[in-house]
Amino acid sequence: MGTYLLLEVRRTLRSVPFLLYTVGFPVGFYLLFTQVFGGGASNWAAQYMVSMALYGAMGAGLTGVGARIATERTRGWTRTLALTPLRPAGYLVIKLAASVLLTLPVILLVMLAGFAVNGVRLPVSTWLLLVPLLWLATLPFTALGIAIGYSARDEVANGVSIVLLFALSIGGGLWMPVQLFPGWLAAVAKGLPSYRAGELAWRVLDGHQPFGAGALVFAGWLVALLALAGWRFRRAS
């Protein structure tokens, strides 16, 4: 199992598009938007830092794992694996674990950019809390990616994952704060898992504990999307 996990991580890191979309874009956009439109409160640099880290980690979960499962199913690779002692549930666990590991580079790099380039200064305990919190915040999207991966063929899964990545990240206020949205759109945004996932980290920056009333909405999405992923997985295997 350990060998397989390592192989999956290595395989994914060898993919130039993966690195570009899930690491290059978030770091690049973060620096672009904070350097060009920044200048104001350093609060913005910190808030946008966790937003872009979450956007990148969501991308890793949705496209790096979900679409990958669809490709491997379409190529018949999962059928070959099903004949080995590796059971389908084991395959899924490896994909999940790889996803968790692969969200780490973007989270750390965006934070490094925040610290080194934008001079974001936070208590050590806050830095340390943000990493597991962003991991947790990514889980619903990894579950969604898995559900797509077990439902669609490869090109379709890829397209759907990318559309959802942008719809959810923009709609959830990761690209521009929900405070700038018109009222009706802000109301929609607050129902999305992406807003509620971001909220966990934004609250910590504001000095609160991460789990407020909005965490219930997040938990609801997490449970629903995990159930969806589990159902699609059982249907497919």
Binding site: Y4, L7, R75, G76, T80, P85
Partner: protein, 293 residues
């Protein structure tokens, strides 16, 4: 009980809509045999293999590998397979892939043996997406045998290979089966079954139509061949002689397939065409064509 048999099918059927792909198949394969599953396209070979491996459920009947369900046999690491229409995943080297697959099984083949049997010596560091078609087939074969499975299943493994690759492939397969492993392969090349199998199972229209050693299957057909020197005016009209079911011209001889060689020889005499006659039993190919007609 039953665990001396690698494969056991009892009354297995499978339909796709109104089409009965596999129709009441009974088949037992003892450990150690090399079996060819021979049949034309659409005969039910792949469906049979997919049910054997537990990838498709059977509509009716029972399928067991080593006395238990196909899933349990796979989970125990006793099965390896090369399926049709599977592609390798990109961005992995041959060596990394084989190390991973070996790691999944309890008693894998040592890496050196694996590379030798599958003829992959110089390719260990090569990325899978950079392999030629023939090389990719060898890697898929290596994936199938990496875990040293007791039962190796190959679904039309040589379908896309040229003559030289096919010859090398069967040499690899025989290196593996020699060590006492059970092998089942499907093919529609009769000569592959004749040369590489202890036993030939012929399937047509979802049913077993013959089962035995290549020699036995040959004898099961009453078809024979009458060969004569090619008439001066060519082979035209030979197919209309009484009792002739097929005519094949090779070089300067005509080969007439028939179940009534006496009648064919008489007809050739009447027409003055009997020169350098030779009558012999069917080739496996003739038996196969007669059985699956």
């Amino acid at each position: 009980m039953g665990s001396n048999d690698a494969v056991m099918f009892a009354g297995v059927s499978k339909s796709y809509g109104a089409v009965r792909a596999v129709d009441g198949v009974d088949l037992t394969i003892p450990c150690g045999q090399t079996v060819a599953l021979l049949g034309p396209n659409g005969a039910g070979k792949s469906t049979t293999i997919n049910m054997m491996l537990g990838l498709f459920p059977a509509d009716r009947g029972r399928v067991e590998l080593f006395g238990r369900s196909p899933e349990a046999a796979s989970a125990a690491g006793r099965v390896g397979a090369m399926l049709q229409e599977t592609k390798l995943v990109p961005r992995v080297t041959v060596g990394e892939l084989l190390a991973f697959v070996r790691g999944l099984y309890p008693r894998p083949l040592p890496t050196d043996d694996l590379l030798r049997v599958a003829n992959l010596g110089g390719l260990v560091g090569r990325r899978l997406e950079k392999l030629s078609g023939g090389q990719a087939q060898r890697v898929k074969f290596a994936v199938a045998i990496a875990g040293r499975p007791d039962l190796l299943v190959l679904d039309e493994p040589t379908a896309a290979m040229d003559v030289e690759s096919r010859r090398e492939f069967w040499a690899s397969m025989r290196r593996y089966s020699r060590d006492g492993h059970t092998v089942l392969f499907s093919t529609h090349y009769v000569e592959e079954a004749d040369e590489s199998a202890d036993r030939v199972v012929v399937i047509a229209g979802g049913r077993l139509v013959a089962d035995g050693s290549p020699a036995e299957v040959r004898r099961a057909s009453t078809a024979q061949t009458v060969a004569v020197a090619l008439p001066y005016d060519g082979a035209a009209g030979l197919e209309r002689l009484p009792g002739v079911t097929a005519v094949e011209v090779r070089g300067d001889r005509a080969y007439l397939t028939t179940t009534e060689p006496d009648a064919v020889v008489c007809a050739l005499v009447e027409r003055g065409l009997l020169r350098h006659v030779e009558v012999r039993g069917a080739r496996l190919e003739d038996a196969y064509l007669a059985l699956t007609a």
